[in-house]
C-alpha cells in the first residue's frame, strides 16, 4: 500500500514521458494519477488503525545488507496526515497547471508526478538512507520546475535555492553516515538514540534550511516569487513540511540530549523568524511576498511547537503543518489566479476586486480568515495548542507567539483589503472575470478541507500519536 503510493506517481510520470501523448491527454493522465493517489490515500486513512497507532503498512526489502541499508517504508498516524496533505495539494497543483496550460506539458506533468512520489517517500521512509534519497530526489524536479517554468529571475532563484538546500543536505549526509555506521543500522525503527551534538546539528542544518528557519531563509523570497504559482504552492505548502517532519521524526526523536542542549537557541531562532517573518509579510509589496514571508513565520511557529517537546506542542505542530500546508497552497493558487487576471502581484496596483467577483472574494476571505487564526478555525486550534505547549518551556515564548498572531491578523487583513477592497486598482480592468468553475474546482477542495478541520481539529490532534501521547512516542524514538 505504501509502496503503491510512492510508485503510482513515479510510474505515471514515466508513462507520460515515454508515451507520445498530446498535451490534453498527458495533462488528463497526470490529473487522473493524482486523483488516484487521493483515492489510495483515503483507503490508507480508512484502513489505518488509529487506536493501535505506531508504524503500519510497513514494507521492507533488503537494499544492501553489508551496511544494513534497506528499503523500508510505512506510516505513522501523523505521517498519514502529511501524506494526505501531499496528495491533495499535489492534485490541486496538477489540476491548476493542466488548466492554465503550461508549455511542454509532458515534461511538466511528469516532473510534478515525480515530485509527488518523492515527497510521499520522504514522509514514509523508515530507513535513514532511503529518507535521504527521497529528500534529495525531491530537489531534482523542483530545480527543473522552477528553472524552466519560472519567472524572469528564475536562474538566480534556482541557483540560490539549490546551493542553500544542498549545503544543508550534504551536512545531513555526513551526519547520516556517521550516525548509521556508529549504530550499525540505518533502519529508523531500530536505530538507537544518540547524544552526539555534531550529528544532531547536521540534521538540524538540513531541516532548518529547508523549512526555512531564520536566518537561513535567504533563498525563500526569490524561489517563491519566481516559480509558477502551483509550484510555489507545493514548495511552501508541502516541501517545507518535509523539514518539519524531519525535525519530528529524526532530530527530536533520536537526539533527546542534544535537543535539551540546543532547545533555547532553536526556540529563539524560531521566535525571531516568527516575528521577523510577520513584519516582513506586513511590509511586502506584492501578494506572493506576503504569503512567502508568512510562510517563514508559520514555519517558525511550527518549529516552536515541535521543540516544546510535549504532547500539546506535538499535536499542535502536526495540526498546524497540515493547516499551513493547505492555507498556503490555496493562497499561492489564488495569487496565481489574481496575477493571471491583472498581470501583476503588486498590491498598490490591485484593489477593488471584490466588486462583481463574489466567488473570488468569498474564497480569498475564507482562506484568509483561517490563515489569521480566527477562533473556531483550525489554525486557531493549532496555534493555541502550540502556544500552550511552548508555555511550559517558559511563558515568554507564548507571549512572542501571541504577538505574532496579532501580526498575522494585520498582514492577512492588509492582503485581503489590498486585493479585494479599496478603490479599483490600475491593473484591475473590467475584463478581469470572476473565478472560472475550473479554478473553483481547484481551490474549493482545499478550502473545504480547511473547513472540515476547523469543525473537527481533533481528527488530527487525537489521531497522530499512539494513545494521543506524542511525547511518549518521541521519547521512545518511534520504535
Amino acid at each position: 500500500m505504501t509502496t503503491l503510493l510512492i510508485l503510482l506517481p513515479l510510474a505515471a510520470a514515466l508513462l507520460i514521458w515515454v508515451l507520445p501523448l498530446n498535451d490534453v491527454s498527458a495533462g488528463a493522465l497526470a490529473l487522473l494519477a493524482a486523483l488516484a493517489e487521493v483515492g489510495l490515500w483515503i483507503q490508507l486513512l480508512v484502513r489505518y488503525d488509529f487506536a493501535k497507532g505506531g508504524l503500519q503498512f510497513a514494507q521492507e526489502r533488503n537494499w544492501f545488507s553489508d551496511l544494513h541499508v534497506s528499503y523500508h517504508v510505512g506510516v505513522y498516524g501523523f505521517s498519514v496526515w502529511l501524506v494526505g496533505l501531499t496528495v491533495i495539494a499535489m492534485a490541486a497543483a496538477i489540476a491548476y497547471g493542466f488548466w492554465v496550460g503550461r508549455d511542454r506539458v509532458r515534461a511538466y506533468m511528469g516532473l510534478m508526478l515525480f515530485l509527488t512520489g518523492a515527497i510521499i517517500g520522504v514522509f514514509t521512509a523508515q530507513d535513514l538512507l532511503l529518507f535521504y534519497a527521497f529528500f534529495e530526489a525531491m530537489m531534482i524536479p523542483l530545480y527543473i520546475l522552477v528553472g524552466v517554468w519560472g519567472g524572469p529571475g528564475r536562474l538566480g532563484a534556482t541557483l540560490k535555492f539549490l546551493l542553500y538546500t544542498m549545503a544543508g543536505s550534504l551536512l545531513m549526509l555526513a551526519s547520516i553516515i556517521v550516525y548509521g555506521l556508529s549504530q550499525n543500522t540505518f533502519d529508523l525503527t531500530q536505530i538507537g538514540q544518540s547524544s552526539s551534538d555534531w550529528i544532531f546539528l547536521g540534521f538540524v542544518a538540513a531541516f532548518a534550511i529547508k523549512a526555512p528557519l531564520f536566518p537561513l531563509h535567504g533563498w525563500l523570497p526569490d524561489a517563491y516569487r519566481e516559480s509558477s504559482p502551483e509550484v510555489a504552492a507545493i514548495l511552501s505548502g508541502v516541501v517545507s513540511k518535509a523539514a518539519a517532519y524531519g525535525f519530528l521524526r529524526i532530530a527530536i526523536a533520536k537526539f533527546p540530549e542534544p535537543v535539551q542542549h540546543y532547545r533555547a537557541p532553536i526556540l529563539a531562532l524560531a521566535a525571531i523568524g516568527l516575528i521577523y517573518g510577520s513584519l516582513l509579510a506586513f511590509r511586502a509589496p506584492d501578494i506572493r511576498g506576503v504569503i512567502a514571508y508568512s510562510s517563514l513565520a508559520q514555519m517558525g511557529l511550527i518549529t516552536m511547537g515541535l521543540f516544546a517537546v510535549n504532547d500539546l506542542g506535538f499535536d499542535g505542530a502536526v495540526l498546524q503543518m497540515v493547516n499551513h500546508g493547505l492555507v498556503s497552497a490555496a493562497l499561492f493558487l489564488l495569487a496565481g489566479m489574481v496575477e493571471r487576471r491583472t498581470l501583476t502581484g503588486e498590491l498598490t496596483r490591485l484593489g477593488g476586486m471584490a466588486r462583481g467577483r463574489p466567488a473570488l472574494a468569498t474564497v480569498l476571505i475564507t482562506t484568509g480568515v483561517i490563515a489569521l487564526a480566527v477562533p473556531l478555525s483550525s489554525a486557531f486550534a493549532g496555534e493555541f495548542l502550540i502556544l500552550a505547549g511552548v508555555f511550559r518551556q517558559g511563558w515568554g515564548w507564548s507571549v512572542v507567539g501571541a504577538v505574532a498572531i496579532v501580526l498575522a491578523a494585520a498582514y492577512v487583513l492588509r492582503l485581503i483589503s489590498a486585493v479585494l477592497h479599496r478603490d479599483v486598482g490600475p491593473a484591475v480592468s473590467d475584463s478581469a472575470l470572476d473565478l472560472r468553475p475550473a479554478e473553483l474546482g481547484v481551490v474549493v477542495p482545499l478550502v473545504a478541507c480547511l473547513l472540515a478541520l476547523s469543525a473537527w481539529p481533533a481528527a488530527i490532534t487525537e489521531h497522530s500519536f499512539r494513545n494521543d501521547r506524542g511525547q511518549t512516542d518521541v521519547s521512545q524514538g518511534f520504535k
Binding site: F64, L129, Y132, A174
Partner: protein, 488 residues
C-alpha cells in the same frame, strides 16, 4: 629445444580476443575496399569487445580462487575479471560512440587501436609482477597516444597527442624507475614476493613505492599528476576521450589497489596517507578548476580529476569496504563518463564546433533522450539519488568513516557541494535557456544526423547508471567476491 612454460590460454582469452580483433581490423584497412572499411573494422572491434565481455564473465564465474598463471606473471582472479568486464563494456560502448565520428580516413587503424588499447588494459589489470605491469601500461598507453592524434583534421588533436605522449612517457618512466628501485631493494618482481621480502623501513623500497604511486596516478589523472588531462581530453576525438575517461582511469585505479595491497602491505601506514593526500589534492584542484570552465569537455576533464579523488579515498582506506566501494563505484562511473562524453560528441557533430555551455542551450529540448541521459549522468557525478553515483559515494564515505577518517568524509562532502555548481550548470545550459537565444545553425545543415548506435550506447549507459542504484546488492556481492582475497 626450449620448453616454454605452461600457459592457461583460457585465462588470457579476453586479451587474446581483443588482440585478434585488432589484427583483423588492421588487415581490413588494407584488404577491405574503402566504403566498407569502416563498418567492417567497427564490427570486428565490437565483436572483439563482445567476446572479451563473454570471456571475462566466464572467467569471473570459473575463478572463485585466484591463482597465478604463466609462471605467476599474470593473475587469473575475480578482481581482474571484474575490472575486465567494466573495461570491455566501456570499449564496446566506445566503439558504438565512435562509429559516426567525422573522420576522413584511417578507420581500420582507429578500430584496431581501440581494440588493442582494450586488450592492453585487460592485461594490465591482471598483471602480477612489475614487468607485466609496465608492459600492460605501455601497451595501452601507446595505443591511446596514437588514437589521440589519429584525426589529423581535428584542431588541437596533434597537440593533445604530443602532450599526452611526453607527459605520459614521463609518467611511465617514473613508474619504471620506481619498479627498478623496488627490485633493487627486494630482489623480487612478483607482488607477493615483494611483500614477503620487503622491510617496512627500507628507504629504497619506500622511494620506489612513491614513484610507483606517482606513475599510476599519472594514468588515473589524479592531482598533482593531472596537468595533461584537460588538454588531452579536449583535443582528442571525443569518443577516445570517453574511452580514456572511463577505462584508463578504471584500470589505473584497480591496478593501484592491487599493487599497493598485495605488494606493499607493510608500508600501508605510508601509502594510505599519501593516497589520502593525493585524493584531497584531486578533489580541491579538480573541483575548483571545473567551476570556471566554459567548454563542456574541459569541465568534464576536471570533473574526472575530482572523481579520481573520490575513488582514491576508497583505495586509501586499505580495507575490504574501501575495495568494494571502489569496484562498485567504477560501474556507474564508467557508464556516466562514457555517456556524458557521448552526448558531447553528439552535440559536437551537430554543430561542428567545440561544445561549450553557451551552445548547449536548448539541446535538452531538441534531443529529449540525450538530454535526459545527460541530466542523469550529471546528477550521478554529483551523487544524487536514483543513480549509482549516490550509492557509490555513500560507500566511499562509509569506508573513510570506517577507517576513522571523518575529516576525509567532510572534505568529500564539501567537494560534492562545490561540484553541484558545475554539474547542474550543464542542466541549466541545456534546459533553462531556450535555443532561440542564440543563432547557431547546425554546420551540416538540415536535421541532426540520426545516430542509432550512439543513442543505443547512451541508453545503455543510462540503464547502467540508474540500474546500479537499484541493483546494489548483486553488484556489491560481485565486488566482494572480487576483492575478499586482498585482505585475508
Amino acid at each position: 629445444m626450449i620448453h616454454g612454460p605452461h600457459i592457461d590460454w583460457f585465462a588470457l582469452a579476453g586479451v587474446n580476443s581483443l588482440l585478434a580483433a585488432s589484427a583483423l581490423a588492421l588487415l581490413s584497412a588494407v584488404l577491405v575496399p574503402g566504403p566498407l572499411r569502416r563498418p567492417v573494422a567497427a564490427s570486428l572491434c565490437a565483436l572483439g569487445y563482445a567476446t572479451a565481455i563473454g570471456f571475462t564473465i566466464a572467467l569471473y564465474v570459473k575463478s572463485p580462487h585466484g591463482h597465478g598463471v604463466v609462471v605467476d606473471a599474470f593473475r587469473r582472479d575475480r578482481l581482474a575479471q571484474f575490472a575486465g568486464i567494466i573495461l570491455a563494456g566501456s570499449g564496446l560502448l566506445a566503439t558504438a560512440i565512435s562509429y559516426r565520428e567525422r573522420m576522413r580516413e584511417h578507420h581500420g587503424e582507429y578500430y584496431a587501436l581501440l581494440a588493442a588499447a582494450g586488450g592492453g588494459m585487460l592485461f594490465f589489470v591482471g598483471a602480477n609482477n612489475l614487468m607485466t605491469l609496465f608492459l600492460g601500461l605501455e601497451w595501452f598507453s601507446i595505443s591511446l597516444y596514437i588514437l589521440c592524434a589519429i584525426d589529423r583534421d581535428r584542431l588541437g588533436g596533434l597537440e593533445a597527442a604530443l602532450k599526452y605522449l611526453v607527459i605520459g612517457g614521463f609518467g611511465s618512466a617514473v613508474l619504471l624507475f620506481g619498479s627498478a628501485l623496488v627490485y633493487g631493494a627486494t630482489g623480487q618482481l612478483n607482488f607477493d614476493a615483494i611483500s614477503a621480502a620487503g622491510q617496512a623501513h627500507d628507504s629504497l623500497l619506500v622511494f620506489g613505492l612513491a614513484m610507483i604511486i606517482a606513475g599510476l596516478a599519472f594514468k588515473a589523472s589524479a592531482a598533482p599528476f593531472h596537468m595533461w588531462t584537460p588538454d588531452v581530453y579536449e583535443g582528442a576525438p571525443t569518443p577516445v576521450t570517453a574511452f580514456m575517461a572511463a577505462a584508463t582511469k578504471a584500470a589505473a585505479l584497480v591496478v593501484m589497489l592491487r599493487v599497493l595491497v598485495t605488494a606493499f602491505p607493510s608500508q600501508a601506514h605510508l601509502w594510505t596517507v599519501a593516497l589520502a593526500a593525493i585524493a584531497v589534492c584531486s578533489l580541491v584542484i579538480g573541483n575548483l578548476a571545473a567551476l570556471v570552465q566554459k567548454g563542456v569537455k574541459r569541465m568534464l576533464a576536471y570533473s574526472s580529476i575530482s572523481q579520481a579523488g573520490f575513488m582514491l579515498i576508497a583505495v586509501s582506506t586499505d580495507s575490504n569496504l574501501g575495495a568494494r566501494a571502489l569496484l562498485y563505484y567504477l560501474i556507474p562511473y564508467a557508464a556516466m563518463s562514457l555517456g556524458s562524453f557521448a552526448v558531447v560528441a553528439a552535440r559536437e557533430r551537430e554543430l561542428g564546433v567545440p561544445v561549450t555551455f553557451e551552445n548547449m542551450a536548448g539541446f535538452g529540448w531538441e534531443r529529449p533522450l540525450l538530454g535526459v541521459s545527460m541530466w542523469a549522468f550529471m546528477l550521478g557525478f554529483a551523487g544524487f539519488p536514483l543513480t549509482g553515483g549516490f550509492v557509490g559515494k555513500f560507500y566511499i564515505f562509509a569506508a573513510a568513516y570506517d577507517r576513522g577518517w571523518t575529516w576525509l568524509v567532510i572534505v568529500g562532502v564539501a567537494a560534492t557541494a562545490v561540484s553541484l555548481y558545475y554539474y547542474l550548470g550543464v542542466i541549466r545550459a541545456m534546459y533553462f535557456r531556450p535555443a532561440e537565444e542564440l543563432q547557431l545553425a547546425p554546420v551540416a545543415g538540415g536535421s541532426p544526423p540520426r545516430e542509432l548506435l550512439l543513442q543505443t550506447a547512451v541508453t545503455a549507459a543510462l540503464v547502467v547508471t540508474v540500474g546500479s542504484f537499484f541493483a546494489v546488492q548483486p553488484l556489491i556481492d560481485a565486488a566482494r567476491h572480487a576483492t575478499e582475497f586482498l585482505f585475508l
